[in-house]
């Protein structure tokens, strides 16, 4: 009988791959964005910082900061989902997955942000859903909220160009 993989090894592999993805983008750190992982589900978190304020009178988060946050959430989710297959089904280690080109980020073709409410000066959360991911192109929808999951403060849809893999997939 095959023994299940030790929990620690599974977690290390998943968190390691996510870390490679997130750490590769300086702008994610600049915006104080982190990714919370539960199994394969990712939640992007943008910690509030006074520097992301766009309207000091209200105050409200800058629309550009929200757009940046949503775009990051979409890009990481897209790359993460594509890497999940080789990572989990074939149990490949992080280095090999990276060498195959799975941890390279897609490129944004277009991105449409729908501003539903003004962003309050507190933390933001976002979850992305890949609606279609082909060999070349992908379409992703992202939803962002602050205090209440039911009350979205922004949502976005974008199209992305997938990076070519180093192996024949």
């Amino acid at each position: 009988m095959k023994r299940p993989e030790p929990l620690q090894a599974v977690k290390e592999r998943r968190d390691g791959a996510l870390k490679v993805l997130v750490d590769s983008v300086p702008y994610i750190e600049f915006m104080n964005v982190s990714f919370d992982r539960r199994g394969d589900e990712l939640t992007a978190v943008m910690a509030f910082d006074p520097k992301i304020i766009g309207n000091p009178v209200l105050p409200a988060i800058h629309g550009g900061a929200t757009a940046s946050f949503l775009e990051m959430a979409a890009l990481i989710e897209l790359a993460w989902q594509r890497a999940w297959g080789p990572l989990e089904e074939e149990k490949t280690d992080v280095e090999a997955v990276q060498a195959a080109g799975y941890l390279r980020l897609p490129k944004t073709i277009d991105f449409t942000v729908d501003y539903l409410r003004s962003g309050l000066p507190r933390d933001c959360y976002a979850r992305a859903r890949v609606n279609r991911s082909g060999r070349r192109y992908a379409s992703v929808h992202v939803e962002a909220w602050q205090d209440n999951r039911e009350k979205l403060y922004a949502q976005a849809t974008g199209h992305f160009l997938m990076p070519q893999l180093n192996v024949d997939g």
Partner: protein, 191 residues
């Protein structure tokens, strides 16, 4: 039923407080026994020069623009130009060193908003309803990104804006943007 009543009441309260502000102001004014009845027009007298000064001060007070080092280039009637320098901290693709699309979005969003507030009929500060950005090609590493925005149509409630961004040559844009912004038009007296 009870809930519905509460909702209606809430709406009534809301419109009483915020809905007809203009009407309230006129109603409270003492009657004037003259041929011409002057209605209060707080923003109508504003000149384009004053408008630009207010806009400039507003942009300078934005913390996020300061964080990205966004600079105001020029202002015109319903149009504006802004730029953002290259910075390693805002890189999105480490392999090439190209700036993250989100930072370009922030630049274009601000510039579009500024163009709206420079519209001669704009009465109130604006907010983005929707912004679509198309990324045509990666911006050159190390180059300043310049964006130009103009309001090509404004209704009573919405301003439609177009913007382009380039990294030195305006004929070769790196990105384009289309946006809808909230807009409230200055009420003009019919004469």
């Amino acid at each position: 039923m009870k809930q519905r009543f509460a909702e209606q009441n809430k709406q009534r309260f809301h419109s009483a407080c915020f809905g007809r502000v203009r009407g309230c102001v006129t109603a409270r004014m003492p009657p004037i026994d003259m041929g011409t009845h002057e209605r209060p027009r707080p923003m109508a007298e504003i000149t384009q020069e004053q408008r630009q000064k207010i806009a400039e001060q507003f942009i300078k007070a934005l913390p996020f623009c300061a964080a990205l080092d966004i600079r105001l280039e020029s202002m015109g009637v319903a149009e504006a130009s802004m730029s953002m320098p290259y910075d390693k901290r805002i890189v999105g693709d480490p392999e090439t060193g190209v700036v993250h699309g989100g930072a370009v979005s922030a630049l274009m969003d601000t510039c579009c908003g500024l163009a709206v507030s420079l519209h001669p009929d704009s009465a109130k500060p604006t907010a983005t309803i929707d912004l679509r950005i198309e990324y045509m090609r990666p911006a050159k590493v190390g180059e300043r990104i310049v964006t130009e925005a103009h309001v090509y149509n404004a209704t009573r409630t919405v301003a439609f804006v177009r913007a382009f961004a380039h990294d030195g040559n305006p004929d070769k844009p790196v990105a384009s943007a289309t946006g809808a912004f909230t807009f409230s038009r200055i009420k003009k007296d019919k004469s």
